[in-house]
C-alpha cells in the first residue's frame, strides 16, 4: 500500500496478545516494523498511542493507532483482504467472534487462577478451566481448525492459550488440556502450533518458560501473603 508511514506494531516479546497480532500480519504477508516495548518503563510513544490502557499491542497504520488485540485483528482482516481470517457468512462470523470472546473472557481467567492460586481456590479454578476448555472444544465442531481447513480468527485468538497452558502446567504440575477428556482440542493444539507461521513467530520456548515461571512465582507469592 503506497503512501503514509506504513505499519508499525508496538509489542512485547512474551505477550501472547502482541503475538496473535503478529500472526495475523504474517499470515496475510503484511510488511510491518516491530517496535519492542519496555513494559517496566513505558515509552512516550506507547503512552501517546494508547493513553487509555497504556498497554501493548498497539498497531499504527499510516500514523493512526489502534489498541486491543482482537479489534486490531479484525481491522487487519478488513484492510488486507488476502488470507481472510473471519468467515464471509454473517452467522459463521458471529460464531467466530463468540468463541474468541469466550476464550478470552472465560478460559483465560480460570486458567490463570489454576496456576496462581492455592488450595481450594486453585481446585475450583482448575475445574472451571477444564469445563470451559471442554466448551471451547465444542466450537471446533469436529473441524481441523476453528477456521475449517485453514487457520482463522479463532485459531489465532486461542492458539497461545494452549501453548501457555501447557508450559504453565509443566511448571505447576497441573494438566488442563487432557488428551482423554479433550481429544479434539488436543489435536487442534498440535496442528495449530505446528503450522508454519504460527510456529515461526513463537518466542524462544526456554526464555518463555523462565518468563512464565517468574510470573507464576510472583503471583503465588502475592496469593500467599493475603
Amino acid at each position: 500500500m503506497a503512501g503514509g508511514d506504513g505499519v508499525k506494531l508496538l509489542g512485547y516479546w512474551a505477550s501472547p496478545f502482541a503475538l496473535r497480532v503478529e500472526w495475523a500480519l504474517k499470515l496475510k504477508g503484511v510488511e510491518y516494523e516491530y517496535l519492542e516495548q519496555d513494559l517496566q518503563n513505558k515509552s512516550p510513544l506507547l503512552l501517546q498511542y494508547n493513553p487509555v490502557h497504556k498497554k501493548i499491542p498497539v498497531l499504527v497504520h499510516d500514523g493512526k493507532p489502534l489498541a486491543e488485540s482482537l479489534v486490531i485483528i479484525e481491522y487487519i482482516d478488513e484492510t488486507w483482504k488476502q488470507f481472510p481470517l473471519l468467515p464471509q457468512d454473517p452467522h459463521e462470523k458471529a460464531k467466530a467472534r463468540f468463541w474468541a470472546k469466550f476464550a478470552d473472557e472465560k478460559c483465560v481467567p480460570a486458567i490463570l487462577g489454576t496456576f496462581t492460586k492455592v488450595g481450594e481456590e486453585k481446585r475450583k479454578a482448575a475445574n472451571e478451566a477444564r469445563e470451559n476448555l471442554k466448551t471451547l472444544e465444542s466450537g471446533l465442531e469436529g473441524k481441523r481448525f476453528f477456521g475449517g481447513e485453514t487457520i482463522g480468527f479463532v485459531d489465532i485468538a486461542a492458539a497461545w492459550l494452549g501453548c501457555w497452558t501447557r508450559i504453565a502446567g509443566e511448571i505447576v504440575d497441573v494438566k488442563l488440556i487432557d488428551e482423554e477428556t479433550m481429544p479434539e482440542l488436543c489435536a487442534w493444539l498440535e496442528n495449530v502450533l505446528e503450522a508454519p507461521i504460527i510456529k515461526d513467530c513463537m518466542p524462544p520456548q526456554d526464555k518463555l518458560l523462565e518468563h512464565i515461571k517468574g510470573g507464576i512465582h510472583k503471583m503465588l507469592m502475592a496469593a500467599a501473603s493475603t
Binding site: V52, L66, A67, E74, H91, K93, A94, T135
Partner: protein, 224 residues
C-alpha cells in the same frame, strides 16, 4: 423471502435493549420472547447453553449470542440505516470504545454503586476517569455516530437512563454534577430520540430492581 427474527430478552436488560434499538432503527420485524431470568425457558437454554443469558437473536432458526456480536450481525445482514462507519479505522475505533464501555466503564459504575468505604471511593475515581474519555469522544458530535445514532450510541445507550436510576438509588452523583456537559447533553438527546424513547423500561420498576440489588450487595458486605 419470509424472514423469521426472534429476540429473547427480559424486561430490563440493557444489553438486550441494544438489540431492540438496532432492530427498530433498521425497521426489522421481529417477535419478542420475554424471559423470566429466575425461571429460564428451555428454548433459551437450548439456544444459549454456554452462557444461558439474554439477549439471544434467532434468525431463521440460527442463534446469535453476545449483544455486541449480535449488533454486528444485524449490521451485516440488514444494510439499511447503517450503524457502523464504512472506514475500517473508524469502525475499529468504534469497536474499541464499545469494549471500553463493557469492560471498563460499566464495571466501574457497578462497583461505585455496590461497594463500600475505600473500595467505593476508588471506584468513584475510576468512574470519573472513564467518563472523561467518553466526554472527549463526544467533542464536535451530537451522537457518537456523528449526526445520527450509531453502534457506539447503542453501546453507551444504557447510561442515558440507568445512570440517573443509580444516582437516585445510591445518592451518588456520577454525571448529575454537571462535570460532563457533552455527555449529559448526549444522554438527553439519545433518550428523546424517536425509536429510543419508546423502548425504555418503566423507571419505577427499575428503581425497585436496583434498590433491591444494591441492598443485597450492602447486606453481604456489612460486618456481622
Amino acid at each position: 423471502m419470509a424472514e423469521e427474527v426472534k429476540l429473547f430478552r427480559n424486561w430490563s436488560s440493557p444489553f438486550a435493549l441494544r438489540i431492540v434499538w438496532a432492530l427498530k432503527l433498521k425497521g426489522i420485524e421481529y417477535e419478542t420472547i420475554l424471559e423470566d431470568l429466575q425461571n429460564k425457558s428451555s428454548l433459551l437454554l437450548q439456544y444459549n447453553p454456554v452462557h444461558k443469558k439474554v439477549p439471544v437473536l434467532l434468525h431463521n432458526g440460527k442463534p446469535i449470542l453476545e449483544s455486541l456480536v449480535i449488533l454486528e450481525y444485524i449490521e451485516e445482514t440488514w444494510k439499511q440505516h447503517p450503524l457502523l462507519p464504512e472506514d475500517p479505522f473508524e469502525k475499529a475505533t468504534a469497536r474499541f470504545w464499545a469494549r471500553f464501555n463493557d469492560e471498563e466503564l460499566l464495571p466501574s459504575i457497578r462497583d461505585a454503586s455496590t461497594k463500600q468505604g475505600k473500595e467505593q471511593e476508588e471506584a468513584i475515581v475510576q468512574v470519573e476517569e472513564n467518563l472523561k474519555y467518553v466526554e472527549e469522544k463526544l467533542k464536535g458530535n451530537v451522537f457518537f455516530g456523528g449526526e445520527t445514532i450509531g453502534y457506539l450510541d447503542l453501546a453507551f445507550g444504557w447510561l442515558a437512563n440507568l445512570v440517573s436510576v443509580l444516582e437516585e438509588v445510591t445518592g451518588l452523583s456520577l454525571t448529575a454534577s454537571g462535570k460532563f456537559p457533552l455527555l449529559s447533553a448526549w444522554m438527553q438527546n439519545f433518550s428523546d430520540a424517536p425509536v429510543i424513547k419508546e423502548c425504555w423500561p418503566p423507571r419505577d420498576k427499575l428503581i425497585i430492581k436496583y434498590q433491591a440489588m444494591i441492598e443485597k450487595y450492602t447486606a453481604v458486605a456489612a460486618p456481622k
